[in-house]
């Protein structure tokens, strides 16, 4: 079973995204702040991280930066989501896909499906 870490501070978005991904057969864990996301990532490595950019305490970009500098986490595929498309960032801050909020169910499942498949992760 593929594991997904959903990092989202908005309660309703967090709940509904986690529920539909579970319906699709993914193992989902959730957290609501950037700091908590780093704690979770230090404990276990998910197959995909689905992460909001505007998070309390530490931003999604900050978490991504730490991930890319951490052996073992540097290759974990990341889907960023936000209301605004992220502008230029350091090349090291590579994320795999971006979902502009509000997104549709198909877009979410398509993005997660692509990155959790063996081809998508290569």
């Amino acid at each position: 079973m593929k594991t997904i870490l959903v990092v989202e501070d908005e309660f309703d978005v967090q709940q509904v995204v986690a529920d539909v991904l579970r319906d699709e057969g993914y193992e989902v864990s959730v957290c609501g702040t950037g700091a908590e996301a780093l704690r979770r990532l230090s404990e276990s490595r998910p197959d995909v991280v689905l992460m909001d950019i505007m998070l309390p305490v530490l931003s999604g970009m900050h978490v991504l930066e730490v991930m890319r500098k951490t052996p073992g986490l540097d290759q974990v595929p990341v889907i960023l989501m936000s209301e605004a498309i992220p502008r230029s960032a350091a090349p090291s801050l590579s994320w795999q896909l971006f979902l502009k909020k509000p997104f549709r169910l198909e877009q979410l499942l398509d993005a997660v499906g692509r990155l959790s498949s063996p081809e998508g992760r290569s």
Binding site: D9, V13, L58, P102
Partner: protein, 524 residues
């Protein structure tokens, strides 16, 4: 040397202000919010709280290069909120997330209580180096409070944090009681309301409390448009302390109608206000336009501010009776400002008028024709405000040295002269009355100066005609007398003015005239 009164090493704390950038809100707050202060913004759903807070954030980024954090405690997605905001002109998506950062605190306050929420806020504000912080949905936080005291302590902690970080903080909630704990603790309380007054939906803003500074008290009109929110302070409060009056050297501002100007002692005193009253069709608008055109002839800028006739109709009407309005509109000497007779806000109208006048501030001895007072009256949510509003507006126009003529419409059929805006006759230095008289199946127009403060004037009634050649005022009172002494059946009886103004002129004989105007059979 210590304890000296002249010791200037101790600087008084600077009153740093954070401007909202919301039109005229900073004027109401005498400079804006205090930096590092904490303010409650409350109001019912739909009153504009979220728009105001977001607009303030974008303005703060734009004007002060600030950094804002906007935290919601409601179960509402930011995506939905931003979708509603993106149609408004102040919204700039490119500022998100770098300068304006939206987060939710709902789950944290639900799961971890106020200690968890405070930790989240502290961490986020420091990481984002925020200068403005908004919490939207304080009632949600209160629902999770185990006791009133715990909620009070939470607000108190927020206050301490805002002060320590120098981060101006806004707590948004639905309507609260004035004595609510939160309102007692914060530095300022602003209420937005949205009420039905008769058939009208009226939004207003009231500042209930603002520590450490004066502010404009009472209700002020709120308007929400594609530009966002704007506030219209009550005109009478805004101009409670009018500036020094117009210059001492007063000129006479003529109408360009020699006989009428003679009656006025050469014209209206500059910087004064004149009420021009009469039934529909008596010629008020044409007389007002003559006043502007004569000013333009003399090189004086003029402004028409009206509600009923759009500029093309106005020009056509003036040109039809020989008033060359179009020429002066085209060369910019006269501006025509037309407000379609729809639902307006009275203070907003006054602002538009004054802003237009101030934009022409370079020109001297300006003239203004307001057609008519009923446009302001119709816009008044609170009719009892009209007298003091007109007083404040005319005072302001006086201090700008504007010579103003303002019309007021009498009813078409009434036996007595009852001014629809009686207070207008009080605030105006001069009152000119136009009326109809019927004689042998013919309607005649009569003109008289009812009042002219601190000035000599001719008290006689004069007949006048409106012809393709212009407005023709009889050279004496005799034609009027002959009309009035015939078997006259008046549309309007000889006026008994039912108001506090001086009764002058109507029944007073003026100097003996020479000529006699031939009764005209030309209707308009």
């Amino acid at each position: 040397m210590s304890g000296s009164d002249t010791d200037d090493s101790v600087q008084p704390p600077r009153d740093e202000r954070v401007e909202s950038g919301i039109p005229r809100l900073d004027f109401i707050l005498k400079g804006g919010f205090k930096q590092g202060g904490i303010y409650a913004l409350m109001g019912p759903p739909g009153s504009g709280k979220t728009i105001l807070a977001n607009q303030l954030c974008f303005n703060h980024i734009d004007k002060s290069d600030g950094r804002c954090v906007y935290m919601t405690l409601l179960i509402e997605s930011h995506a939905k909120m931003l979708r509603h905001l993106e149609s408004l002109r102040f919204f700039r998506l490119e500022e998100i997330p770098d300068k304006l950062y939206y987060i939710s605190g709902y789950k944290v306050v639900r799961d971890q209580g106020f200690s968890g929420l405070l930790e989240l806020i502290r961490g986020t504000l420091r990481e984002r180096r925020a200068t403005v912080f908004v919490i939207d949905g304080m009632e949600s936080a209160e629902q999770f409070a185990p006791t009133v005291q715990a909620y009070g302590e939470f607000v108190h902690s927020l206050q301490a944090l805002a002060s320590l970080l120098g981060c101006t903080t806004f707590l948004i909630s639905n309507m609260r009681d004035r004595t609510h704990t939160e309102n007692a603790l914060v530095d300022g309380v602003i209420e937005l309301s949205d009420r039905l007054i008769g058939p009208r939906a009226v939004r207003e803003l009231t500042v209930h409390k603002f520590r450490g500074s004066d502010y404009l008290r009472g209700r002020h009109e709120v308007e929400i448009s594609s530009d966002g929110i704007s506030i219209h302070p009550r005109t009478e409060v805004q101009f409670a302390h009018p500036g020094p009056s117009a210059r001492e050297q007063r000129l006479r501002m003529a109408f360009g109608l020699p006989r009428f100007d003679e009656m006025l002692g050469g014209g209206l005193p500059s910087g004064s206000t004149t009420a021009l009253v009469g039934s529909p069709g008596t010629g008020k608008t044409l007389l007002g336009l003559s006043f502007l055109v004569e000013g333009a002839r003399q090189g004086q800028r003029g402004t028409y501010f009206g509600f009923y006739e759009p500029p093309p109709r106005l020009i056509e009407k003036a040109e039809a009776v020989g008033i060359p309005l179009e020429r002066y509109v085209q060369d910019g000497s006269i501006s025509l400002v037309w407000q379609p007779p729809l639902e307006h806000l009275m203070d907003s109208l006054a602002e538009q008028l004054l802003e237009k006048i101030r934009a022409d501030s370079a020109s001297e001895r300006r003239r203004l024709f307001i057609d008519g007072a009923e446009g302001f009256r119709a816009a008044a949510v609170y009719p009892e405000r009209v007298p003091i509003f007109l007083s404040a507006l005319t005072n302001q126009l006086r201090s700008l040295d504007i010579t103003t003529v303002i019309t007021d419409e009498l009813e078409l059929f009434q036996s007595e002269l009852v001014l629809p805006t009686p207070e207008l006759a009080n605030v105006a230095e001069s009152v000119v009355l136009l009326r109809y008289v019927e004689l042998r199946s013919q309607i005649y127009r009569l003109l008289s100066v009812m009042k002219m403060r601190e000035s000599r004037y001719d008290t006689s009634l004069r007949e006048f005609h409106i012809t393709p050649g212009g407005i023709d005022v009889a050279e004496s009172f005799q034609s009027a007398e002959s009309i009035l002494s015939g078997h006259v059946r008046e549309v309007r009886a000889a006026p008994r003015v039912r108001k506090a103004a001086k009764k002058k002129g109507a029944a007073t004989r003026g100097p003996k005239g020479k000529g006699r105007a031939r009764p005209s059979r030309r209707g308009r």
